[in-house]
């Protein structure tokens, strides 16, 4: 097959809307992977990859579908996105599947998406909620926590994760004193903290986003003196949280997907100061872009139908482990007919119908820094 000299990847995420502050680093991360590949000049005998950004508004199905159609019309070879599970589902069902287009979402975690008959076109680099619930329970149990108050951001991510934490923790003999949602981007969280504090518990677990309502809840809880330590699932782990909250956060702990931390450290090195690599889902975005390009290299084609089946192959063992910054090496190995196991920044490991089953780092906040205390 004759290769076009140009490969186009759509980056379809919510540049405006509720998670707008997360999406800029996400896009930058994806574009960094693309740049890395372009610089190497190794992809498909020197094809040039361009990224096309498009907005989903995070919560605007109509806009997202329109923009997806636009990407298709522009001739993209794959779509990185969407971000929020709602728009992702809409784009998947109405644009990607009919057009036979592959999507790799860095951030849609809803289990509901697994049920869509996706014709093997949908993948995600964000780990599943169910697994994280188990990990968190282990950590809590190890630390001797018997009862928790649990609040989650009221969307499919938060709810799914909180469900998983709750059922695992209760199965392990713990007690969830209260299970309450908070809405992101609202003006005031006094009511939530009041209710949570009244219910009590050894610890407050905040299954939210660190620069959204999650931070607001923690701040309000600290200020009111309701809790001093917090349980922090993946969405709450990031440099910004200790920075926003200050020293009061010391002693709080949690977990985030990541293998040995090696990947993320490498990504950080790579990025320099260009963007915040700890911003949620930006490692996943880097990985999504890399997976596309490796699969294309492996299939020696930019046709989704051809490279789609290769994605699981390049993502999983066996093969040489590839980290951020190693993309050129990976491309070379594939070209030479070898096999790679892409680990990337977020410990990519795809299971089942293309979902991530990463391992986790246990984090504790010490002296205003997230420190990895062990791997799980």
């Amino acid at each position: 097959e004759a290769h076009g000299k140009e490969v186009k990847l759509g980056i379809l995420i919510g540049f405006t809307g509720p998670i707008e502050s997360l999406t800029i680093p996400m896009a930058s991360a994806a574009e960094m992977a693309i740049k890395e590949v372009n610089d190497s000049g190794l992809l498909l005998d020197g094809a040039k990859v361009t990224a096309l950004r498009a907005d989903t508004g995070c919560i605007d199905n109509g806009l997202a579908t329109s923009n997806a159609e636009k990407l298709i019309a522009d001739g993209v070879n794959g779509i990185i996105g969407g971000d929020c599970s709602g728009v992702t589902g809409a784009v998947l069902q109405n644009v990607a599947i009919p057009n036979g287009m592959v999507m790799i979402s860095p951030s849609a975690t809803s289990p509901g998406l697994s049920t869509v008959d996706d014709k093997d076109l949908f993948f995600r680099t964000a780990p599943s909620d169910a697994r994280e619930g188990q990990v968190m329970t282990d950590i809590l149990m190890d630390r001797g926590i018997k009862s928790i108050a649990l609040t989650y951001t009221n969307n499919d991510y938060g709810k799914g994760l909180a469900d998983a934490i709750k059922s695992n923790f209760e199965a392990a003999g713990g007690k969830v004193t209260i299970y309450a949602a908070h809405e992101d981007g609202k003006a005031d969280y006094s009511a939530e903290v009041g209710a949570l504090a009244a219910a009590g518990g050894d610890l407050l677990v905040v299954a939210g986003y660190l620069d959204q309502g999650g931070a607001g809840v923690i701040k309000a809880a600290l200020d009111a003196g309701a809790w001093e330590t917090f349980g922090l699932p993946g969405g709450m782990i990031g440099e910004n949280l200790p920075k926003t909250i200050g020293p009061d956060l010391d002693g709080s702990f949690g977990q985030i997907a990541g293998s040995g931390g090696e990947g993320i450290e490498k990504l950080k090195e790579l990025a320099g100061g260009a963007f915040d690599v700890t911003s949620p889902y930006s490692p996943e975005s880097y990985d999504a872009a890399a997976l596309f390009l490796f699969a294309m290299q492996a299939a020696n084609s930019t046709d989704p139908a051809a490279y789609g089946p290769k994605i699981l192959e390049v993502a999983n063992a066996p093969g040489e482990k590839i980290y951020p910054g190693d993309l050129a090496k990976g491309l070379e190995i594939i070209k030479a007919g070898g096999d790679i196991d892409y680990v990337g920044a977020s410990a990519v490991e795809l299971i089942g119908p293309g979902e991530s089953a990463g391992s986790y780092r246990e984090i504790e906040v010490k002296d205003g820094k997230n420190e990895t205390v062990r791997f799980r």
């Binding site: 540049f15 405006t16 707008e20 999406t23 800029i24 930058s28 950004r53 498009a54 907005d55 508004g57 919560i59 605007d60 199905n61 109509g62 806009l63 579908t65 329109s66 923009n67 159609e69 636009k70 298709i72 019309a73 522009d74 929020c84 599970s85 709602g86 728009v87 589902g89 809409a90 069902q93 109405n94 599947i97 009919p98 057009n99 036979g100 809803s110 289990p111 509901g112 998406l113 697994s114 049920t115 869509v116 008959d117 014709k119 169910a130 009221n154 969307n155 499919d156 938060g158 709810k159 799914g160 469900d163 949602a181």
Partner: protein, 444 residues
């Protein structure tokens, strides 16, 4: 005559803009815009009926649209048998008790003399009813939500197809009607309490009810899975991949010069287009007929001067209720249609900016008090909403073109280019209103 030419011209320009999208970005893009434009136009007609003709201020459009979405789930999805046997009856009983409580309280209000005793009894009825309601409902809800929570956990709908529910796509037309009915029911309840009081009250009532509806949709998992979304809602048109696998279709697509993928995607969208167009035309006809008749005259009189209309024997409150219910039903209908196109219900998407204010912009820019204006506004604003993004990026490129690569300001500006969408939207809005302050097709 002159006006007619101008108005037709405006629609032609609009068609031209969409056609241009078709040329530049492909038929599919144009059709997606067109279809959502049709749905927007329908919503705009509903709102125009309420505001443009009756002066009723509805800031809860979002809520009625969401109810339409709920209807799509309740009609389109198959029932979850286990859930029904686990707690279906309990939930129904709970809801019945809740309704009985409210009806009881209202009856007491009506039957008894005003006074402390009445207030006390009403309070007792409400409080006791609330606790009984919760006592019956809560366990049933828990049981239902425990059934396969990752994928179901709700009661489902009435689609008779069971496993093969997707084959019963035409049931969605019923769902649209049910969306209208559901929204009408909610509007009736609001209208019964809010209309006849000062109109601020209607505004806050609709604003509130919309928030309440969304809160219920987000938090009552047994109903429609809450924030976990319902995906895979059936559709009244064939699936593209089925068409692609159908040799007959592929052949006829080829005869038109389409490859199977493009042929199937365009075909499906065209089917939707015709369905929506029929709905729009029917509604438009009904609205125009009504408004050009004595009924419309009465409505305008009421809008102009309620006190005088009342003195001239018109039952203002009843008329308001009628219009409010009708307008809301239209919004509900459009909401169900939109959920059908999306194939999924996502309660998180219901945001006032998108579903209330944007519709208002459509009505005002189009020209409130004129149905054709509302329709045009629906198309135009939706077109802008999805199309101005590239303009923003283009504008930023223009601004930063003089700056060296990698310069911080350039990175910063290009990084915020997406926000140019809202910015440009605002600019266009201001420009349209500047040169046509009463809307593009003003009320005569």
């Amino acid at each position: 005559m002159n006006d007619t030419i101008r108005n037709v011209g405006l629609f032609v320009i609009m068609a031209g803009l969409i056609a241009l999208v078709g040329v530049q970005q492909g038929l599919n893009s144009a059709l997606v815009i067109l279809n959502m434009g049709l749905i927007s136009a329908i919503m705009a007609i509903g709102v125009n009926l309420q505001w443009g003709y009756a002066g009723l201020f509805n800031v809860g459009i979002m809520g009625f649209v969401a109810l339409g979405g709920l209807a799509a789930v309740l009609v389109g999805m198959p029932p979850v048998k286990e859930a029904w046997s686990a707690g279906g009856l309990g939930i129904l009983a709970g809801l019945a008790l809740g309704a009985a409580t409210i009806i009881g309280a209202v009856l007491v209000m009506k039957r008894m003399e005003k006074g402390l005793k009445r207030s006390l009894i009403v309070t007792v009825v409400l409080v006791a009813g609330f606790f009984i309601f919760r006592a019956v409902l809560d366990p049933a809800v828990e049981a239902v939500e425990a059934i396969n929570p990752a994928l179901q956990g709700n009661l489902g709908g009435i689609n008779p197809g069971g496993e093969n529910y997707r084959d019963y796509g035409l049931i969605m037309v019923l769902a649209w009607l049910f969306g209208g009915v559901l929204a009408a029911g909610a509007a009736w309840l609001i209208g019964k309490t809010a209309l006849g009081l000062r109109s601020d009250y209607l505004a806050i009532a609709t604003l509130g009810i919309a928030e309440i509806i969304i809160a219920v949709l987000k938090n009552e998992d047994w109903l429609s899975r809450g924030v976990k979304n319902v995906v895979g809602i059936p559709r009244p048109v064939p699936y593209e991949i089925d068409l692609q696998a159908d040799p007959g279709f592929v052949a006829s697509a080829a005869s038109w010069g389409f490859d199977p993928v493009e042929g199937s995607t365009v075909y499906v969208k065209l089917l939707y287009f015709f369905m929506f167009l029929v709905v729009l035309l029917i509604l438009l006809w009904m609205a125009q007929m009504a408004l050009k008749s004595p009924w419309g005259r009465m409505v305008r009189a009421i809008r102009d001067n309620e006190v005088a209309a009342e003195a001239m024997g018109k039952d203002v409150t009843r008329r308001h209720l009628q219009i409010f219910v009708l307008g809301s039903a239209i919004c509900g209908l459009a909401g169900a249609m939109m959920t059908t196109v999306d194939s999924q219900l996502t309660p998180g998407t219901y945001q006032p900016l998108r579903f209330t204010f944007l519709i208002w912009v459509m009505v005002i820019v189009g020209g409130s008090g004129n149905n054709f204006g509302a329709v045009l506004g629906g198309f135009l604003i939706w077109y802008l909403w999805v199309q101005v993004e590239p303009w923003g990026i283009w504008l930023m490129q223009l601004v930063t073109s003089g700056m060296p690569e990698g310069y911080w300001l350039k990175t910063h500006l290009m990084g915020s280019a997406a926000h140019m969408r809202l910015f440009t939207m605002g600019l266009v809005l201001l420009l349209v209103l500047r040169f046509s302050p009463r809307g593009l097709i003003p009320e005569k």
